[in-house]
């Protein structure tokens, strides 16, 4: 019995150690309220871009199952969207209504192997019968301490805040 117990203890210790070292990458996005007659919740795409190599890591997509409008996320479409097909990479879900929403990318497999370096987290929003906007948040990976990066959109995006932890 004892060898099993010590093996279990070792396993738990290993798992706990892994959880303790998983880096955090969390995003808060504000969708602004629009006073328009015909309102459609915007499609949003999230991805990382390595500042030197230009390598792209898709993080997620908010869309209402209409592939027809994905091309309106012009930058995302060109950088990664057009080479993908369903299911789209990262945290994918429906569009969100006006308000502040949180996304936790920490658990994505792509982050576990992310090479160190300078990155931008890019958020692109496109609204039907509306505008299109891109917001960029620069950061260093891995984070050396708890960091917050903030950038605000001017029309289709409100406050965008990135929280990093080592």
């Amino acid at each position: 019995m004892r060898p099993w117990l010590s093996l279990l203890a070792a396993l738990f210790a290993g798992v706990a150690a892994a959880n303790a070292t998983a880096a955090e990458l969390r995003l808060e996005v504000e969708i602004p309220r629009m006073a328009v007659a015909e309102y459609h919740a915007p499609y949003l795409a999230f991805w990382l871009k390595h500042a030197d190599s230009g390598d792209i890591v898709p993080l997620g997509l908010w869309y209402d199952d209409q592939e027809k409008w994905l091309k309106d996320l012009r930058l995302w479409w060109r950088r990664t969207g057009r080479t993908q097909s369903q299911p789209y990479d990262g945290l994918t879900g429906a569009t969100r209504r006006p308000g502040t929403h949180s996304m936790d990318f920490s658990g994505l497999p792509a982050l576990a192997e992310l090479p160190a370096g300078a990155y931008e987290l890019v958020v692109e929003a496109a609204r039907e019968v509306g505008g299109r906007e891109v917001v960029r948040l620069p950061f260093q990976w891995p984070a050396t301490g708890n960091k917050t990066v903030r950038a605000d959109g001017e029309q289709e995006l409100g406050r965008v805040q990135l929280r990093l932890a080592p």
Binding site: K68, W69, K71, R74, L75, W77, R82, S85
Partner: protein, 267 residues
């Protein structure tokens, strides 16, 4: 962008001999070029002075839509109206589509009773038989016009050259064009890179400008030109090349023309 004078002497000759051809900008205009879902698109075709405002229709003879893997895509609702022609094309697969209207023909110029005449035909032999008795200073010329545009569903794919006449081999993909960026295009004549191809590019919306606004370029020894797009929008590219490699022994030369429509997206 260096502005160079348009040195198309053969074109000037054709224009003086055929005064009726005043509005000679032929073009195809697709409704969509970058799409994220399989769908039908519609294409307008017209010959006009204003890019891209319609004026006159033309025959859709010689139209092909080639999809990814070289398969032909369905074309429907061909229409030749009072002011324009149009058709629908089905983009059902992922990849790039090349929409081409290729019209090789012959032109005969002659003088009869002091008047200049011009005739056109698909066959040189049939055209020569039509020339009336007493015609003088007869000149036979081969003309190969290629009108073209491109559309892509999803990720772009490449095209194989046709190898006949003047064509554009995209180095920069024609559905990957963005404002402020520079595109590299290569021109081929009968499948080989051709130097000295005269190119003129006019942005759409010429009706709303006081100047034509053309950018010009000439292909280098690799048959290549570089175009930096000043802004987003649709552009009409006209390329011209002359040589003496006509297919018919009685023809005195060939006039090759390529007219492409390109959509440049905002960054």
């Amino acid at each position: 962008m260096k502005i160079t004078p348009f040195a198309g002497t053969a074109l000037a000759a054709l224009l003086t001999l055929s005064p009726a051809a005043q509005a000679h900008k032929l073009w195809l205009l697709p409704s969509h070029t970058v799409v994220s879902e399989a769908q039908w698109i519609t294409v307008d075709a017209s010959v006009s002075n204003d890019i891209f405002d319609v004026d006159r229709p033309f025959s859709l003879q010689g139209l092909t839509v080639t999809g990814p893997d070289g398969k032909e895509a369905p074309v429907d609702h061909r229409f030749e109206g009072h002011r324009r022609s149009s058709f629908d094309a089905e983009l059902s697969e992922e990849g790039s589509y090349r929409i081409t209207l290729f019209r090789p023909m012959y032109m005969a110029f002659y003088q009869l009773d002091g008047e200049r005449h011009r005739r056109r035909g698909d066959s040189a032999e049939a055209l020569l038989r039509e020339i009336p008795e007493g015609a003088e200073e007869m000149r036979l010329s081969e003309v190969m016009n290629r009108l073209e545009t491109f559309a892509t569903v999803g990720a772009p794919s490449d095209f194989k050259p046709v190898g006949k006449g003047l064509e554009l081999q995209p180095v920069t993909h024609p559905n990957d064009l963005y404002a402020g960026e520079t595109a590299l295009f290569r021109f081929l004549v009968d499948g080989e890179p051709a130097a000295g191809v005269e190119v003129e590019v006019v942005p759409g919306g010429s009706r709303y400008r006081d100047n034509h606004g053309a950018l010009t370029a000439t292909s280098d020894d690799n048959g290549e030109i570089k175009l930096q797009w000043p802004q987003a929008g649709r552009y009409h590219l006209e390329a011209a090349y002359s040589d003496d490699r006509a297919s018919h022994p009685k023809a005195e030369g060939r006039r090759l023309q390529y007219m492409g429509t390109f959509e440049v997206l905002p960054l």
